[in-house]
Amino acid sequence: MTPPTDSLAAIRRAILQGDLTAEQSTLAALHTSAAQNGTLNALITTFTQQAPEQARRIDSRLRAGEHLPLAGVPIVIKDNICLGPDFARPGDALGYGGPTTCASRILAEYHSPFTATAAQRLIDAGAIIIGKSNLDEFAMGSSTEHSAFGPTRNPHASNRVPGGSSGGSAAALAAGMCAAALGSDTGGSVRQPAALCGVVGVKPTYGRVSRWGLVAYASSLDQIGIFAHSVPDAASLLEIIAGHDPLDATSSQRPGENWSAAAAAPPPAGLLVGVPRQARTNLNHPAVSAAMRRCEDAISAAGGRIVEIDLTTTDLAVAAYYIVAAAEASSNLARFDGVRYGRRAALNDGEGLEELYRRSRAEGFGPEVKRRIMLGTHVLSSGYYDAYYLKALKVRRLIEQDFARAFAHAGCHALLMPTSPAPAFAIGEKASDPLALYLEDIYTVGVNLAGLPAISIPAGWAALPDGVLPVGVQVIAPAFNESSMFNVAGLLERSGVSRRAG
């Protein structure tokens, strides 16, 4: 039986050749999940009964001659992406949507009546959703410590964080519970956990993937992303979930491309890759600096050229991001009021609607979510709007222009940057100082503010006292140029930068 740690391409081949059934592939994934989840806490919900049932349906459709590109591929979905009761097939109620909790007490019992478009496209392609993964509550965090269901642990060293906020998806994939996973990336929430868990993570261009059914955190930044074992696997998944969706007004009309081909293609003649001066700092962990050098060397060896560029706004990006994201969060999360759905606080006699709102929210949200709602409310409030929010939006324009200059004027096909300045830190290490945690995101948030596509690939290993931890490097491309992004990432992967030295 092929274990789910195999690449998606291998599972696909085995199923096509009849060496593996969807049911076997699903049972293997569930077996690994059962063995690992007690330690890792990567999954909030596991579909132990329903996933094999769905797999048997897929097997019978395969026997009937149907072609399903993701037949039997076990997949994990971040628990801020909605699965409805009939998500297996419209009108074909398996009744296994399960709750969509966002790792929050306020939604602990919430069952979505509909299914996210990105998840539905995977299901329609024959994928088997085996579980919903843990996250920082409402995707607010970089460590998956801020979950109402407890922290997720890093499969490479269980006292360390997996990164976040999609830490459950990254850990599940790295531990072999699935062959791919979905997450969401608002400020690095796919790329950073991918780097810290040693897997590939893609944040597509803003608008590339429908966000229908993704619970909103910061709407001008949120994008659904992919975790996979390899660059070609990630490319083939994006081909399935990308594309216009009438249910999401921000989803782009641009057609998708053959990204699998781009991932496998040789680089263009005259490949030029920019490395920001600001990312070459001794604040990076030595293993991260070594990973960057290895990638630069790989590009040169393939006939490409590295050019140093200036991203002068790098040290402003985190400040701009936390204002914009918190402001949008305070507005988006206003919908959780204990009235129409979600948890409602019990009131004392004589207490009114105002108390219902305030108490339901105070009891339902965890501390980090409350802090961000408070920060966002503060920067939007009368007297502070110009000083904080408007200023952040203007700096956001400068950040966009910084990237545009690197691509248009310097002529770079892509940029190369660390994903995170260091390997995974210990659980609890940054709990008392959120600012230190926010600085984890220094290399990732700019991409979201500018709406660009970026991919993180494993590019080295750090030998630490309690384990050997992966580090990642990200490739950033111009908006809607995922082809360039996959092309350079594929080149790096084939050159062996991800391989663990003996």
Partner: protein, 104 residues
Amino acid sequence: MPPEHSISADAVRRTATLARLTIPESDLPDYQRRLGAMLHYVNRLSSAQIEGVEPLTHPGNPTDRLADDLPGPTLSTETLMAMAPETIAPFVKVPKVIGDGSSA
């Protein structure tokens, strides 16, 4: 976190009211410190040359899109009502509203 960047307890109370959050008095010092530290940190934005720069609210060039006005499937009232914590069919139940303008 340096305490000198703290914001006032009143500022936290005011923001909590706007955010519709109950914050116990005992938690105020923590919010004063943490929010103060964040606001101090983001002050670095003042170093940017932003005169004449257009604010960017969304990436790319979003244009208003109008969908065709066609009927399609919708969720039933029953499905949506089933999610509400308290109902008196066919309504969602909330505490008395009139006379409760005290803290808004």
